[in-house]
């Protein structure tokens, strides 16, 4: 059992990115690997996804330390056996402070600035990756010396003969001429020399030296070349088998996008990386971890300016696409992935359980009618009738309410308010007040369930109920970080509210609906706080706050529930080409996953291309709006959105302020 630091198995949200390799083995879900087999192929691969989609987790699977941990624990490594002959090295751009490369750009002559920054960045990257590759070879050699069966497909041979051959080959390689000092004797020496090279760069970038080190000036190479030659020398010398692939990971590529925005250096950093891919050098293969916006916006290569071609220069593993729900739930990967992650977390915490642990913990989601009963409790019918309505209708609807069917009663009220019934004066006709005609179409009810419930809860100042396995999966919006945030918050709520049960730790908890409502509400607030991080954080927070409150106002005010889909908005696609100030904010919201964008097939006669957006489902509990997307969203314009944005008072640092802005006091827990 992995020694988790905390009683909550979901405490460490980033466990597969930050814990040690042994923990990784226990917690990594291999379910995604079948959709991501390119990861082990010989071509370049871009792993793309929103924050928390699992990019780093997937890339960390390639690490040598992870593979050694798999071997030691006798756990099957989740890559096809034929594709395990590889060794990987990597760099995490944030951790290595790649941004420092830009730090002394202003000292460079203006006419050569871009060229020199590109040369420095390429060489710094070459040094980091080469150094890490040597480190991995040495690490694996040590592990194989202790246990020769470990990673037998990549058998490292560090005999004096192979090392000498390797060094001879390396010194003959063009890019290594001056890259390291002469007369080094071993791989270890080369590793040390590369570390020295990295230190020289950092020392200069950190202003510890005034002059750019001369030895670096003369020995810089274009991106990728030293690694390709290093990989070739390692294979040819026999240090590693001739069929070993060298996979080079570059994670947090979006860091470069953010760096470029603030340094007036164009897109030079991303272009340098693109230039390494553009070489199509079969000796190494890159694995780039990035977010959509950072990759899509510039795929030209430094130097040539030629754009990379998807499928030809690189393939894409789009995690959001893999985990997204299709037209039908059948074949939807995310629920299986989530369940597997939960099961591994529970296993690691020593809570082994046979069966569906998700269902045991969260139960089934409450049916709409049950939720309605919880919202109204045993209160008198609070529905609003028009004075002109026939007494028989009022009595009939009140009877439905008093008979324990408040949702049916609500539907009755809503149905009578709808245009068709109003035109036919149905509410005046006592003779028809005896059945539930709104049930004739199952779609009518299905489409209006959530808004009707929201209105019932709103009239009673109740928090909305979200609970049960299905709703928790839906709220995660196919994002594993969102899902884990919910699990963590619900578990923490259960611990807080049930200290005696939590102490026992012998059985899997069965969370009450109350614990789930509170936990999900907390998770929603955490998710809202995430908007306040990243690009255009305040503008995004302001727009999302405005939209959330706008959707709620519209749905609460729609007494006939004629527009049950107004939890989203739609814009003409060509509006997004305008220079309106909201366009980049909407795009930033999309890129950060605050808004979910999709094509909108319009019902308008002109059939103009439209796009529609909804809040990330996990934001819905905070704004107390349904997460279900149904029917038509609000057809709007940038000018209407501008009013909403401008009228939204400056958002505060915490989500509570958004709620306080509404004239409602403390929310009650429904039916408890």
């Amino acid at each position: 059992m992995v020694a988790l630091r905390f009683d909550n198995p979901f405490h460490d949200l980033w466990v597969t990115e930050i814990l040690d390799s042994n923990a990784f083995v226990q917690m990594f879900s291999p379910l995604l690997v079948t959709d991501a087999e390119e990861l082990f192929s010989s071509g370049h691969v871009v792993v793309r996804g929103r924050q928390g989609s699992g990019k780093s987790m997937l890339l960390n699977l390639l690490q040598t330390s992870t593979r050694v941990a798999y071997a030691k624990s006798k756990t099957e490594f989740p890559a096809p056996p034929k594709q395990r002959a590889f060794i990987s090295a990597g760099v995490q751009l944030t951790k290595e402070s790649a941004s420092l490369v830009a730090s002394r750009a202003d000292e460079l002559p203006e006419d050569q600035r871009m060229k020199l920054v590109a040369a420095n960045f390429a060489d710094y990257l070459n040094s980091l990756l080469s150094s890490d590759l040597i480190r991995n070879i040495l690490f694996l050699a040590v592990e194989q010396e202790k246990n020769s069966g470990i990673l037998s497909e990549v058998n490292i041979n560090l005999s004096a003969k192979t090392q000498q051959r390797f060094i001879d080959l390396l010194y003959q390689a063009e890019a290594w001429n001056g890259f390291i000092p002469k007369e080094l004797q071993s791989l270890k020496d080369i590793g040390t020399a590369l570390e020295g090279r990295i230190r020289s760069y950092k020392s200069y970038f950190n202003f510890q030296t005034d002059e750019f080190p001369r030895e670096l000036v003369a020995s810089r190479s274009p991106a990728g070349e030293p690694m390709a030659e290093l990989a070739e020398a390692l294979r040819e010398s026999g240090v590693m088998p001739a069929n070993t692939l060298v996979l080079l990971r570059i994670d947090q590529h979006e860091e470069l996008f953010e760096l470029e925005r603030h340094t007036n250096l164009g897109t030079v950093f991303r272009q340098v990386i693109n230039s390494a891919l553009a070489k199509r050098d079969p000796r190494v293969a890159y694995r780039i971890g990035t977010r959509h916006y950072a990759w899509d916006r510039d795929i030209t290569a430094w130097g040539s300016g030629a754009p990379l071609e998807a499928m030809r220069d690189y393939s894409i593993i789009d995690l959001d696409q893999i985990l997204k729900r299709g037209e039908h739930t059948k074949g939807w990967k995310f629920p299986l992935f989530a369940a597997d992650v939960v099961s591994k977390r529970l296993d690691a915490a020593g809570l082994r359980f046979q069966g569906n642990s998700m269902e045991t913990m969260f139960g089934k989601s409450l049916e709409p009618a049950d939720r309605a009963r919880r919202y109204v409790g045993d209160t008198k019918c609070a529905l609003q009738f028009e004075e002109t309505w026939a007494p028989a209708w009022k009595a009939y609807i009140e009877k439905l309410w008093n008979d324990g069917e408040p949702l049916e009663a609500k539907f009755g009220e809503v149905w009578l308010r709808q245009q068709t019934q109003v035109k036919q004066k149905v509410a005046d006709d006592e003779t028809r007040a005896h059945s539930t005609p709104w049930r004739k179409s199952k779609w009518w009810v299905k489409e209006r369930n959530e808004v009707a419930l929201m209105q019932l809860a709103g009239s009673r100042q109740q928090a909305l109920i979200w609970s049960g396995e299905r709703q928790i999966i839906d709220l995660a919006g196919h994002n594993i970080l969102a899902f884990m945030t919910i699990c963590k918050s619900v578990w923490a709520t259960w611990q807080r509210r049930n200290p005696a049960d939590a102490e026992k730790r012998s059985a899997l908890p069965n969370f009450s609906v109350e614990d789930q409502v509170i936990g999900i509400s907390e998770a929603s607030q955490i998710w809202f706080k995430k908007i306040q991080v990243g690009l255009e954080a305040n503008q995004r927070t302001r727009l999302i706050s405005g939209l959330g409150q706008w959707f709620r106002r519209r749905m609460l005010g729609d007494r006939a529930i004629s527009n049950p889909g107004h939890s989203g908005f739609s814009l003409l696609e060509n509006e997004l080409s305008s220079d309106h100030f909201l366009v980049p904010i909407i795009k930033a919201c999309r890129d950060h996953g605050d808004l979910m964008e999709s094509q909108h097939t319009t019902k308008e006669k002109n059939q103009a291309q439209r796009l529609k957006w909804y809040l990330h489902p996990l934001l819905c509990p905070l704004f107390r709006i349904p997460h279900i997307r149904t029917k038509e969203p609000i057809y709007t314009s940038l000018y209407e959105l501008q009013d909403i944005y401008n009228n939204q008072r400056r958002p505060g640092p915490i989500a509570d302020e958004t709620l306080k802005a509404e004239s409602e006091g403390q929310l009650g827990l429904p039916g408890f």
Partner: protein, 329 residues
């Protein structure tokens, strides 16, 4: 026991025996930016020259609203400098600090004795400037000054913080391999670092809490602490209460903590705490990294007024970092 050379400006400056100083300060929308110049009229602070840093923020409503206050303060500073020769260094808030605050621009006449007034200079600029002035062989005496504000508004002080990155001049040079200890200075604003704290693979998490805080500052400090503290913090998470103005104490503690492992420093707290963190980082031989999220806009009433001492003079604290060419930390 070593002496920590800091205290009120009128106590500290005479003890340096320096007769005249070159002052580096900045104009701002905050009234307290004039504090050091007001003080120069009242205590024994003879200025030979001055450098005035003027930073332009990215366009925002806040920045537009701040213009009248900036103009007023610049006018007041020019008037207070009166006969003192001064140069102005202008630049953008998001520019690389090295493009603006190198010794050649901050101390163009290579004065031996320099006061760096950090009151309204953003952290990423003054920390870099301090490091450069400490390394400058031409600067023999370096005093840092900080004017306390009368109060802070009950609102978000700044907006749109960039993602946290290593500050220029304070990136880690080499790592020991073990995950670094994360030390967070607690202030008022989270500045986009919640995820960094949450994600930090630190087995040791420390919060430095300014103490004793003035009311209602303590509540806001606790609010931020509550916001940043992971839901279930590591068991060995510690909260250290350190005098909010004692840069030397911060420096000493972090130097001790950093002897055994790498440290990541997040200076969200008072500027003297940030100063102490940077001082320690300079002594930890490249094993420390100072991370910061630069806000892109500041509230025009970020602070109001200037705190006064019992005799009605601005409350200005001074820290002597270098004296007669000798580093004092």
């Amino acid at each position: 026991m070593s002496i920590k050379p800091w205290g009120s400006i009128d106590w500290l400056l005479p003890r340096t025996k320096v007769e005249a100083w070159h002052l580096i300060t900045s104009s701002s929308f905050e009234e307290r930016c004039v504090g050091i110049l007001l003080c120069s009229q009242q205590v024994e602070l003879k200025l030979t020259s001055a450098t005035l840093l003027r930073l332009t923020n990215p366009p925002s409503d806040f920045w537009t609203d701040a213009q009248p206050a900036i103009n007023k303060n610049v006018e007041a500073m020019h008037a207070l400098l009166d006969q003192t020769p001064f140069n102005e260094v202008e630049g953008k808030l998001l520019a690389m600090p090295s493009s603006l605050v190198r010794p050649s621009s901050l101390n163009p006449d290579d004065c031996e004795s320099v006061i760096l007034d950090i009151t309204t200079i953003p952290k990423r600029f003054f920390l870099f400037a301090m490091q450069q002035l400490m390394r400058s062989e031409k600067v023999k005496n370096l005093v840092i000054t900080y004017t306390k504000a009368k109060e802070y508004p009950e609102a978000a002080l700044c907006e749109n913080a960039l993602p946290p990155t290593a500050l220029q001049g304070f990136a880690r040079m080499s790592a020991t391999g073990e995950s670094p200890r994360l030390i967070v200075g607690v202030g008022y604003m989270p500045l986009s670092v919640e995820e960094l704290v949450e994600q930090a693979k630190n087995v040791k998490l420390d919060f430095i809490f300014p103490f004793p805080p003035a009311s209602p500052a303590f509540r806001r400090n606790w609010d931020l602490l509550a916001m940043l503290m992971p839901t279930d913090p590591p068991r060995n998470t510690d909260i250290h209460r350190v005098h909010g103005m004692d840069a030397f104490e911060i420096c000493e503690r972090i130097k001790a903590w950093g002897e055994s492992r790498d440290v990541d420093l997040l200076p969200l707290g008072p500027k003297p705490h940030a100063l102490g963190m940077a001082m320690a980082a300079m002594r930890l031989d490249g094993h420390a990294e100072v991370l910061y999220s630069q806000p892109q806009s500041y509230r025009p009433n970020y602070s109001t007024g200037i705190a006064a001492d019992a005799s009605g003079r601005p409350q200005i604290l001074a820290y002597c970092l270098k004296l007669n060419g000798r580093d004092l930390f």
